[in-house]
Structure formats: C-alpha cells, structure tokens
C-alpha cells in the first residue's frame, strides 16, 4: 500500500486543492477516484463523519477536510514550497482569507450562477461584493501568496478555474476583466502556473458535466 493515498473526485475543486499541494511538495501518492453514488467502503471507513472527499491517508492515518489537509501537508513535508508563510501574522491573514473564500465566496458565487431568476440579483450582488473584497486583498501581487502561490491561491481554485466554466455553462458573467482586472489577471496566472496546470480537470469534460447536470434546471 502506498504511503500516501488521496481519495478524490475528478471534478471537485476541494479534491483538486489537495492534488495541487501534493504536487507542489513533490509528494508521490496513489490517487483513488471515488464514485459519490457508490462510495467505497474504504472512504466510509476513513471519513465516517462526513463521508466526503477529499480524504488524505498518510501511513494509514486518514485526514479529512481540505483546509485541514492543506495545513497537514505543509507541516509534514516542510522542506520545500511552503504553502503558508512563516510569520504568524501573515499566517493568520492567509487562514482568514482561506476561510472567507470557503465559507462565503464559493457559496455566493455558486448561488449567483445557478439560482432562480428572482434570487439571482441578490445573490449576484453578494457575489460581486466578495469578488471586490478579493480584488482589494490581491492588490498588485502576482498571487495571493506573493511571488509564489500559497494557501489562499490554492483555496481560490474555484475562482481561478471552475467559475469561468460555470459562467460559460450558465451565461452568467461575474468575474470580468472590466470589473476586477487584478483578480481576472490572477485567474490567468493561476491556470498557467505549472504546479496548477497539470492538476486541473479537463476543461471540456468539466464544461460538459456542468451543462448536463445543471443545465436542465435553469430557466431563463
């Protein structure tokens, strides 16, 4: 059995985050694709509480929750490519924005794309507020982590890649170059970054999936 295993899902941004981190650190791992309609006994054993992916298993010990896994990876393989900064205040700041993205942004953006017409305006307003916040946080940096990608960039993968695809599938436009030039530029840097590029799901496959799974329920 491989020392490191990742139970994941090809189209999940949460799963992708962990793959990015493992690749950044040069960690070899065995990847196990989960079928969420038929979860493997191993997954249920390793994550009995949430029964979700991703789950990282290192030396037979499971870790669940993508943010928890990212910190674990950073602390365990700490010789290269730090995901979190060294300074405690900068670490707290990175954790704050990662949590903000996870708890507020992603849900708001998702809602703004998929909700019924009457709710969409309110959802879009909130989503745009959050995008502006991130635009202001990024300032003139290349990445949220500075010159190199860090925790916040990894956690923002939804904005970097998934959002554009969902926008294409739904016709909703949120992250435009016009409104958020810095964030837009960041998203281009993000997908071209070598550590990220190889770990993103195939664009066409994801677009087709989004259209098929959700397209039917959208009424314009």
């Amino acid at each position: 059995m491989a020392q490191v295993q990742l139970f994941g899902l090809w189209g999940s941004p949460f799963s992708c985050r962990v793959e990015i981190a493992l690749k950044l650190k040069g960690v070899e791992y065995e990847y196990i694709e989960e079928d969420l309609s038929n979860k493997s006994p191993l997954l249920l054993q390793y994550n009995p509480i949430h029964k979700k992916v991703p789950v990282l298993v290192h030396k037979r010990k499971p870790i669940a929750e993508s943010l928890v896994i990212l910190e674990y990876i950073d602390e365990t393989w700490n010789e290269r490519n730090p995901i979190l900064p060294h300074d405690p205040y900068e670490r707290a700041t990175a954790r704050f924005w990662a949590k903000f993205i996870d708890e507020k942004c992603i849900f708001a953006l998702w809602k703004a794309c998929w909700s019924e017409e009457k709710e969409r305006e309110e959802a879009a307003r909130e989503a745009c507020e959050h995008l502006q916040t991130l635009e202001d946080v990024l300032k003139d940096k290349r990445f949220f982590g500075g010159d190199m990608i860090g925790l916040v960039d990894i956690v923002a993968n939804f904005m970097g890649f998934w959002l554009g695809i969902i926008e294409e599938a739904t016709g909703v436009k949120l992250l435009t170059e016009e409104k958020y030039p810095k964030l837009y530029k960041w998203s281009e840097e993000f997908v071209n970054c070598s550590a990220i590029k190889e770990n993103l799901p195939p664009r066409d496959k994801l677009l087709a999936y989004m259209r098929a799974r959700y397209g039917v329920s959208i009424t314009y």
């Binding site: 509480i49 669940a64 929750e65 910190e71 707290a92 704050f96 949590k99």
Partner: protein
C-alpha cells in the same frame, strides 16, 4: 518596553467565541486590555478592524488586528511560544484537533442555531440533529482521548479544552432557558465529566459569563426572537 507587546481584545461578555480567546490569553499568561463591545452599537474601531464580518472577537496585537476565534487561537499559540502550548507539535494530532474544531463550529453550532431558531416540528427535527452531532462528538473525543480526559488545570489546557469550556461551560444556563438537556451525563459521559473538571478550574470560573446574567440575556433574546450573532 512600552508598546512592545500591546494586546487588546474586542469582545462581548456572553459570546462563546470571545470567551475562547480570553481563555487562551489567560492560559498563556498574556496581559491584555479588554474592550467590551455593545453588539447593537459596534465601535468604529471594531468595524475598522473587522470590516468583512464586523464581529467579535478581534485580537489586536501591536495595532494589527486578527479576526475569527480559531484563527486567533492558532496565532496566539504561534506568537507566544513560552508557556503551555495550545496545540500539540505532531502534525497528525494538530490535524485531528483542527478537524474537530471545524466540526464543533460548522456542524454542532449549526444544529444549535437551528434548534433555537425553529418551532414545532422543525424544532423537533433540530433536537434530533443536535443529539446526533453530540453523539459524533462524544465518540470522536473518546477515540482522540483513549485514556479518558487528562487532568486539566489552568497550566496545561489546550485548544480542545478551550473549545469545550467555551461551548459547554455555561450548560446550566442553556438548560434553564431552553428547557433541553443537551449535555446529558448518561448520553455523553466523557463530555460531561470533561466539562465538570474544566468548570472547577479557577481560571475558567473567572472567565465564563456569570450564570444569572447569562440566563437573563438568553431569556431576553428568546422572548424577542433574537438570534445569537457576534
């Protein structure tokens, strides 16, 4: 040196999140200035320090603000490395604690919130959910602490002790107001005995909100349909 290590905490006396930070500061022996916030009339400083959420607690260290209680706890542990460590050194143990902190926050508090803000059949379902989550927590803590709860005092408390204290310490007030025994000693013996031990610690007694004052506030909120929000 003056101003070298200036620590201020913007908090609220009944807020469980605020209490977490106070407990951590006290356990670490860090001197701080406490600023009580009126949540119906938040200070301009608070809004400046936490523009995203506009909530307490906010720790301000040498003029730099940190928000979100769990993040503050980790910051405190990483910055003041003398004295008791709030988190263990081992990455796997740290991951487990972070997992449970997240569970308490999102799952447990989520269901508490549903419980106090619903009525009738919906509330009955919410009660079931609370008991389910408490079960999960009890089981999880049993696995995490196979030898039972270690003897705790103000000198060796860690993050989990702090979270458990802040969440369940005032359980008698909660029971009195909501008429529901959540921290049931028969259902959750480990959690119950843990809370008993923690509540005996003088440091904890000094931090937790006074029973009668808390009951009065919770009654007021219940009667006026107010929801907890820091």
């Amino acid at each position: 040196m003056e101003g070298e290590n200036e620590v201020k905490l913007h908090g609220m006396w009944a807020s469980t999140y605020s209490k977490r930070v106070e407990l951590a500061l006290k356990v670490k022996g860090i001197p701080y200035e406490y600023i009580e916030e009126d949540l119906r009339n938040k200070s301009p400083l608070l809004l400046q320090y936490n523009p995203v959420y506009k909530k307490v607690p906010v720790l301000v260290h040498n003029g730099k603000p940190i928000a979100e209680s769990y993040i503050i706890l980790e910051y405190i542990d990483e910055t003041w490395q003398n004295g008791p460590r709030l988190l263990p050194q081992d990455p796997y143990q740290r991951a487990q604690i972070r997992f449970w902190a997240s569970f308490i926050q999102q799952q447990l508090f989520g269901s508490f919130y549903k419980l106090i803000s619903s009525n009738g059949e919906e509330q009955e379902k919410a009660v079931e959910e609370v008991f389910e989550k408490m079960n999960v927590l009890e089981k999880g803590m049993k696995e995490l602490l196979p030898e039972g709860v270690p003897e705790v005092d103000g000198n060796n408390s860690g993050v989990l002790d702090i979270l458990v204290t802040a969440t369940f310490g005032p359980y008698k007030a909660h029971e009195e107001v909501f008429g529901l025994k959540v921290l049931d000693p028969e259902k959750y013996p480990l959690l119950f005995s843990w809370v008993q031990k923690l509540n005996e610690i003088p440091l904890v007694k000094g931090v937790l909100p006074p029973h009668d004052k808390l009951v009065a506030l919770l009654q007021f909120m219940k009667q006026n349909g107010l929801k907890p929000s820091s």
